[in-house]
């Protein structure tokens, strides 16, 4: 097994045993990037020399007997939405094409402290708005299982680079499914933590009350490892939770003896692809065979989750993205008549279609006379949804369902139909609206060889439960051991 095929945990063990150096590990992934990324197009910014210097530094620390941290010299790819001092942070937008952040995000600090080698910055839908990664202003990332297809989004680059073995681990962000849906479409593991579990300080905001940063990896244990490195309280984020961070990497490997799995009957209706439905139902049988109790649960309000999400998220986005006006940083139009014209042209030129669409939707939702009908109503639905989940978790420990209604769709297939695109998040947005954790893990393939994802959702702060339940399933199956063929041409 080559270096790039090994899991992060295996690499850490080898690094600890001095069987291999961080430089060798990093070089192997760099070689891989250089070999395949012209086809995958996951990386927006990649600096081999910088990565190797960082690897050398960790190797040096290790040989000097110093602390090397939890990640101990393992490479991690970063979604291009987390600020890192002196590095480009484009958010996939022309607006921030030349922007370099003047400070480190909390998660960047945590990764550095944990001894991660930051490998580069990976592609995304502009400002995390999208489900296919096609809304990037720079490039369209391909799905490593079929290069004619999308990797999902918005963390499409983070998913694709891990699936293509260009990085063992990556950081994604999830506002309505942006970690889980691309993880599902690329056949990897992605975890969206409880709102507040990971500090948002330095995460460029899309929808502040929904955004969370989370790990993406090729196995549950690796995802647990990366979560352990980035989770925890940060006084710079007022919504950050104070709870201590459990040793996820260790604890996720303990099976849950009396697991109760709730199957959301609402999810198996219209719009769900038959092959996906079959794979998810088989996953239910796997849990039954592992001794879990299967119960039917209802999330009736989830029928309203998509419209609720598109009111709340766009309202917050219209506010969060107001700062990109060409005055203090970011794109400024070359020519303009006056201040208002400068605003209009700078924003008109800097933002892509989907971002503009969401800013307009959100502006409408918050406008005088409409706020009650849209924004305030959406907040009410949000509370009802949380109530649905509370009731469901009286009956079960995790809620099970598909992550995405279909496997990866073709590049360009939905780019002219925003509504169809929005519906690919139908099973994921409710988790964000309720502030809960959600895990996506591989549970099979379509006949044409595209990965299918299984989603487990849990109560607030139940990451450990999700990871343990996910690990049980993973041990009983081998979907996660399949490697993307990088087949087809785009």
């Amino acid at each position: 097994m080559s270096i790039i095929e090994k899991s992060a945990c295996e690499l850490i063990e080898m690094l600890g045993n001095r069987e291999i150096s961080s430089r060798e590990v990093t070089a192997a992934f760099c070689d891989r990037i250089e070999a395949v990324d012209s086809r995958v197009r996951a990386f927006l910014h990649y600096d081999r020399d910088q990565a190797l210097r960082r690897a050398d530094e960790i190797d040096h620390r290790r040989s000097a007997g110093q602390e090397v941290g939890l990640l101990a010299g393992v490479p991690v790819a970063i979604k291009d939405i987390l600020c890192a001092r002196g590095e480009p942070t484009t958010c996939g937008s022309k607006m921030l094409e030349h922007f370099k952040a003047p400070y480190d995000a909390h998660v960047i600090e945590r990764l550095d402290r944990a001894g991660a080698v930051r490998l580069g910055r990976v592609n995304m839908d502009e400002f995390a708005m999208g489900s296919s990664c096609e809304n990037s202003a720079y490039q369209k990332t391909a799905n490593p299982w079929d290069l004619r297809r999308v990797p999902g989004g918005s963390s499409g680059g983070s998913a694709a680079c891990v699936a293509a073995l260009e990085a063992p681990l990556s950081i994604g962000t999830d506002t309505g499914g942006s970690i889980r849906q691309p993880a599902s479409l690329c056949g990897i593991v992605g975890l969206k933590p409880t709102y507040g579990r990971v500090s948002r300080f330095g995460l460029v905001a899309y929808a502040s009350s929904l955004d969370q940063i989370g790990p993406m990896a090729r196995s549950v244990v690796d995802a647990a490892l990366l979560l352990e490195a980035i989770a925890g309280h940060d006084p710079r984020d007022s919504t950050s939770l104070p709870h201590p961070v459990p040793p996820y990497r260790q604890s996720c490997q303990q099976p849950l003896p009396k697991l109760r799995v709730g199957v959301v009957t609402d999810y198996f209706g219209e719009g769900l692809d038959e092959e996906v439905a079959v794979a998810v139902k088989k996953a239910i049988e796997v849990y039954r065979s592992l001794g879990a109790t299967i119960v039917d649960v209802r999330l009736p309000t989830s029928a309203h989750a998509i419209p609720t999400y598109y009111v709340v998220a766009t309202a917050e986005a219209s506010s969060n993205l107001a700062r990109y006006d060409g005055v203090h940083y970011g794109h400024r139009a070359k020519e303009y008549r006056d201040l208002v014209d400068m605003y209009k042209r700078s924003r008109g030129e800097g933002f892509g279609h989907e971002v503009k669409r969401r800013i307009m939707l959100g502006t409408l939702a918050l406008s005088a006379g409409r706020r009650d009908a849209f924004y305030n109503k959406a907040l009410q639905v949000r509370r009802l949804l949380r109530g649905d989940y509370d009731a469901a978790f009286q009956q079960c420990d995790v809620v099970l369902g598909p992550t995405s209604p279909t496997a990866a769709f073709k590049l360009g297939e939905k780019s002219d139909d925003p509504l169809a695109m929005y519906l690919s998040d139908i099973y994921t947005v409710a988790t964000n609206l309720a502030g809960l954790p959600g895990l996506s893990l591989p549970c099979g393939f379509t006949k044409s060889g595209l990965p299918i994802g299984l989603q487990l959702q849990g109560p607030a702060m139940a990451e450990e439960t999700l990871l343990r339940a996910g690990y049980m399933y993973e041990q009983a199956t081998d979907w996660h051991r399949q490697t993307a063929p990088l087949a087809g041409t785009s």
Partner: protein, 488 residues
């Protein structure tokens, strides 16, 4: 304005900058007058990815102000975003409080010429300040200074309870004193730590009917004097306008006018055709604030004795007049503390009050924050007062000569009295001798006195004092003269 048949109606919106070490949502400093863009950070510049964290001290100071303004303090309050585009507002939204301000329904009693008016307050809320646009005169470019962006402000909104320019001025002075006394703000209007907009209209009574003119918001008021002048001007202007077009409230949109100090007029700034749509919504980056009873009790302790309580104490327990009690308290805590300190040196309340009000304040220039900002230390003044009381110095000399000298040289009272040779002679025989010569020299005046002209006595006293070069205690001179003239 008494000549015009109308009543002025004013409500004030006052912004007060809180005296905190750091800004409302980040750790940038707050010192005034620093070079442009030196008190900034990614947070105050509104960089991508930054998050606000509430400054707890700012909340405490705000609550302190709310308590001093007799407000209801909310036990649960929250933050909202108020959106508008302007280069001095880096995020293009301001973090403010919309529907749940931390304080509501307070009041401030305002005294003008012995008449007290209760000015009720609608609300007090916290918000962050914006930066400043600097317009380059020669180039076409504007520059932005973000030092002020994110400074903590409270906005105090009054009901339209103010009925004259003088009341508006008195309201602001009182508010300023209160905020300074509590160390909530230094309230320097020139530095922008106290800012005021005035909502002005008038109620005209004509032939038994009342007409209210459309409300005008007057801005660009950089001193209390300007607030007063602009209200007087604006009221007159509205009356003239009403005579021309007869428009009353509701028939014209609310207008914003700026005060032009050079010309002494208000000028239209922009029409508020419709209320600007600020698209308020709860700030998702901040958690709501719960104000506990413990916190409130602690802050109440910091507020201490209120101005009203202090005034009542001076009047009821010390027997001061309402006027003296008010002056001592309304001039600020420094003055009242000075008065208390003077009394602690065994000076009776009325004497102490007269000295402080008539002399110490007259000699004190600049802002009085604490009692040591007054011209002379209480202990030194107490010594001077005791010299007068012990008949060792004339009151007049004490006030006109010794006190001045104390202030300019810093020497103590008895040294100055010696140096200037102002000691009062209490040698009764010496007084009697001079009284005898005066009575002999001014026999005509003595006759006048005996024939019932009581005033004549004053001339005799004056002559004795003159011949003594003012060194005799006037009371003793009076007593001896009366005795010699056979008056009991």
């Amino acid at each position: 304005m008494a000549t015009h048949p109308f009543e002025i109606i004013v409500g004030l919106e006052v912004h007060v900058q809180l005296l905190t070490e750091s800004k409302l949502f980040c750790s940038d400093g707050t010192k005034f007058g620093q070079p442009p863009n030196t008190l900034v950070s990614p947070i105050s510049i509104g960089m991508p990815g930054v998050l606000p964290v509430m400054n707890r001290r700012a909340l405490e100071l705000a609550i302190k102000a709310g308590l001093a303004l007799q407000c209801q303090i909310a036990r649960f309050t929250k933050w909202d975003r108020k959106h508008y585009y302007y280069p001095d507002l880096p995020k293009n939204y301001q973090i403010s409080q919309y529907d749940m301000p931390f304080a509501t329904e307070g009041y401030l009693d305002v005294d003008v010429e012995g008449k007290t008016t209760k000015v009720r307050l609608i609300r007090v809320h916290l918000e962050e300040d914006a930066g400043k646009n600097l317009h380059d005169d020669h180039g076409g470019d504007s520059l932005v200074d973000l030092n002020r962006a994110g400074m903590p402000l409270i906005e105090i909104v009054s009901y339209p309870d103010i009925r004259s320019a003088a009341e508006a001025g008195a309201y602001l002075e009182k508010l300023r004193t209160l905020m300074r006394d509590l160390d909530v703000s230094d309230c320097e209007m020139q530095e922008g730590s106290l800012r005021c907009d005035a909502n002005v209209n008038i109620a005209i009574t004509k032939e038994g009917k009342t007409y209210k003119t459309p409300i005008v918001e007057v801005k660009n008021l950089n001193s209390i004097k300007m607030v007063e002048k602009s209200i007087t001007y604006e009221a007159g202007r509205q009356y003239d306008q009403w005579e021309k077009d007869g428009k009353v409230i509701g028939q014209a949109p609310k207008q914003t006018r700026g005060w032009d100090e050079a010309r002494g007029v208000t000028r239209p700034q922009r029409e508020k055709e419709e209320e600007a749509d600020y698209r308020y919504f709860p700030e998702p980056d901040l958690v709501p604030v719960v104000i506990t009873e413990e916190m409130l009790a602690r802050i109440k302790g910091e507020v201490g004795e209120s101005s009203q309580q202090r005034k009542d104490r001076y009047r009821d327990q010390l027997g001061l007049s309402e006027y003296n009690a008010s002056v001592l308290v309304d001039k600020g805590r420094g003055v009242a503390d000075y008065f208390d300190a003077l009394m602690s040196h065994d000076i009776d309340a009325k004497t102490a009050a007269n000295w402080v009000i008539n002399d110490v304040l007259a000699h004190s220039t600049g802002r009085i924050k604490v009692m040591h900002d007054l011209a002379v230390e209480p202990s030194s003044l107490a010594e001077l007062i005791k010299l007068v009381k012990g008949n060792k110095l004339n009151l007049n000399d004490a006030r006109e000569r010794v006190l001045r000298e104390m202030i300019s040289t810093g020497k103590d009272a008895s040294t100055i009295v010696q140096e200037l040779g102002l000691e009062v002679v209490v040698d009764t025989a010496a007084i009697e001798a001079i009284v005898d010569t005066v009575l002999a020299d001014m026999s005509k005046v003595v006759d006048d006195f005996r024939s019932g002209k009581g005033k004549a006595l004053g001339a005799l006293v004056g002559q004795v004092m003159k011949r003594s070069q003012g060194k005799f205690p006037p009371a003793l001179v009076n007593e001896i003269l009366n005795k010699k003239l056979g008056v009991s």
